[in-house]
């Protein structure tokens, strides 16, 4: 298990759940993860990585892990607004893309693996930024 850093991972990916301690597990889909992040961000949490993936394929993923940090000090109003806009926008985009589509559950295992790997990269990037 990885040491708890000052961040939380909102995820619906079971293999991420088993790997990290600081997990806010969402029993649901990609969209439910986005909703959970929205609630947290509106309550003052900082959004660490972007809620969306980097290609249209990743919208079809049944799994998503998003890093947030609970109410960190020095969160300016501008940043707060940016986080809120980003998550709201992401939800709108997700809905737009998935309107006529279902998550690609056939390849669930692969998406789970890629999500886990992308999360690892994101945490790495975040840590490099912290020290």
């Amino acid at each position: 298990m990885e040491n708890t850093f000052d961040y939380d991972i909102v995820t619906n990916n079971p293999s991420v759940k088993d790997k990290y301690e600081n997990i806010i597990f969402v029993d649901g889909g990609f969209k439910d993860v986005l909703f959970k992040v929205r609630d947290l961000v509106h309550n003052g949490a900082e959004l660490i990585n972007h809620p969306l993936g980097a290609s249209i394929r990743m919208f079809f993923s049944p799994y998503r892990s998003i890093i947030i940090r609970e109410k960190s000090e020095g969160n300016s109003e501008i940043n707060k607004e940016y986080y809120i806009n980003t998550i709201e926008n992401s939800i709108e985009n997700y809905n737009k893309q998935m309107e006529n589509r279902n998550p690609d559950v056939v390849n669930s295992e692969d998406y789970s693996l890629i999500d886990e790997n992308l999360l690892e990269s994101a945490i790495g990037e975040f840590k490099r930024m912290q020290n």
């Binding site: 980097a54 249209i56 926008n89 006529n100 992308l118 990269s121 930024m129």
Partner: protein
């Protein structure tokens, strides 16, 4: 820097017992190439095949496309920092098997799409239907971790390109292109009155199957960095087999980056081309802010009057693209963006995941959700199970006659955001 690209026009590829180019026909020694690639212990088997323009052949799932070349003068044969020792690229002479391409296929993950149809309707949508393709299907040993699998496939493609490229070492070229550009001071002296233009090339830099490499350095780890355009044309930038089939930049497209070539074309005539700024598309918001600031700063330090920015991917990179655009425009730099769009299957949705009013000049390279109909192929190279992935996700995609409806996002290079292909979007 002065780079001489010497094009040997390839008119066919044959598999045989020697590797050579004779009268435009590239022959590849099948056994030798296979055994060379199998020197990598992570590779269990390799299958080779050829796909020619016009043949009713479908290649799937395509991972990367690489142009076979050999450096005959100057430093850095192959891909320094990746497949060969580090060297400074951008100077010298390179022989190119022009019209030939190495196409790697392999299932790193099940959902990777990436189709190239060599004939008919499908051929229109991908630039790689017009190249003679040596398809390298890489089967790894069992139990390989996905990172290692991806690296093995990536390296095998590059090695195959080097091996095949050697065949052109002593062949006289049909055509020679010279790319020459001095330091910024020299060029500014030569063209004091021409507007200065930088090219910002954004690269997905987010992890497994979302990476790019510059002289072997994973772009996740860099600050935006300046390259002489010749370096990229000489093989400094490598694709990391990204999942985004339609808009990832394959290694071939880095080697022949159309934005660089079209800017070079105008250099000294209408503009003074300053070079390429490679900009990572990071995943954290803080990282995106930093990248945006740093990219803008580089453009300003270079004294750019105008900038062309190209994106890779869709979704979170749209934020980088528009943020950079806004900042450049706010600083008085005229900016043109190249991006594809996701305006839904009916073309009625908002095209990008983000907006900014400063983005007044945007080239759209197509809607990734545009549906195309691909007729059944006579021959499938690669894994025809992957076709199910192409058709997956929505009903009615597979028709009775075996033809298949798929979105452009499955087609390699269809909506290339470096502007490599000729699609656009019009409002109806």
């Amino acid at each position: 820097m002065r780079l001489e690209q010497r094009r040997i026009h390839i008119k066919d590829i044959q598999l045989g017992n020697e590797t050579s180019v004779k009268s435009g026909v590239l022959t590849v020694n099948k056994e030798e190439l296979i055994s060379k690639l199998k020197e990598d212990k992570k590779i269990k088997d390799v299958k080779l095949d050829v796909a020619r323009p016009g043949e009713k052949t479908r290649i799937i799932p395509v991972k990367d496309v690489i142009e076979p070349r050999v450096k005959i003068e100057g430093d850095g044969n192959g891909f320094p920092g990746v497949s060969t020792k580090m060297a400074q690229l951008g100077d010298g002479k390179v022989n190119i098997l022009y019209g030939a391409a190495i196409v790697t296929v392999g299932d790193i993950v099940g959902f990777q799409e990436g189709v190239v149809d060599m004939w008919g309707e499908g051929a229109k949508w991908t630039p790689f239907s017009s190249t003679y393709n040596l398809v390298v299907d890489i089967i790894p040993v069992e139990g390989l971790k996905p990172h290692d699998h991806e690296a093995a496939v990536r390296l095998a493609g590059l090695r195959a390109a080097e091996y095949v490229g050697e065949a052109g070492r002593d062949v006289e070229p049909d055509e020679v292109k010279v790319y020459e550009m001095g330091s910024h001071v020299e060029e500014a002296k030569k063209y004091p009155n021409l507007p200065k233009v930088a090219y910002v090339e954004m690269l997905i830099s987010q992890g497994l199957l979302h990476d790019g490499y510059i002289y072997g350095v994973n772009s996740q780890l860099i600050l935006p960095t300046l390259l002489h355009p010749n370096e990229e044309l000489d093989g400094a930038v490598i694709s990391g087999n990204c999942v985004a089939a339609c808009d990832k930049i394959t290694t071939y497209q880095h080697q022949n980056n159309s934005s660089i070539l079209d800017l070079y074309e105008q250099h000294g005539k209408t503009i003074n081309f300053l070079g390429v700024i490679l900009t990572p598309e990071l995943t954290t918001l803080e990282g995106k802010f930093r990248t945006c600031d740093y990219t803008t700063k580089l453009c300003m330090n270079l004294g750019a009057d105008g900038v062309i920015v190209s994106e890779e991917g869709y979704g979170n990179p749209d934020s980088d693209l528009l943020m950079i655009c806004k900042k450049l425009e706010d600083n008085g730099i005229k900016t043109v963006l190249i991006t594809d769009e996701c305006s839904g299957r009916d073309g009625m949705s908002q095209p990008l995941a983000d907006t900014t009013k400063e983005a007044v000049a945007v080239v759209s390279t197509g809607n990734v959700s545009h549906v195309v109909k691909l007729p059944p192929a006579d021959k499938v190279i690669g894994n025809d199970k992957a076709i199910a992935t192409l058709a997956g996700g929505w009903e009615g995609a597979l028709e009775e006659d075996g033809s298949l409806q798929c979105e452009l996002n499955a087609v390699i290079g269809a909506t290339s955001e470096i502007g490599y292909h000729n699609l656009t979007v019009k409002l109806y």
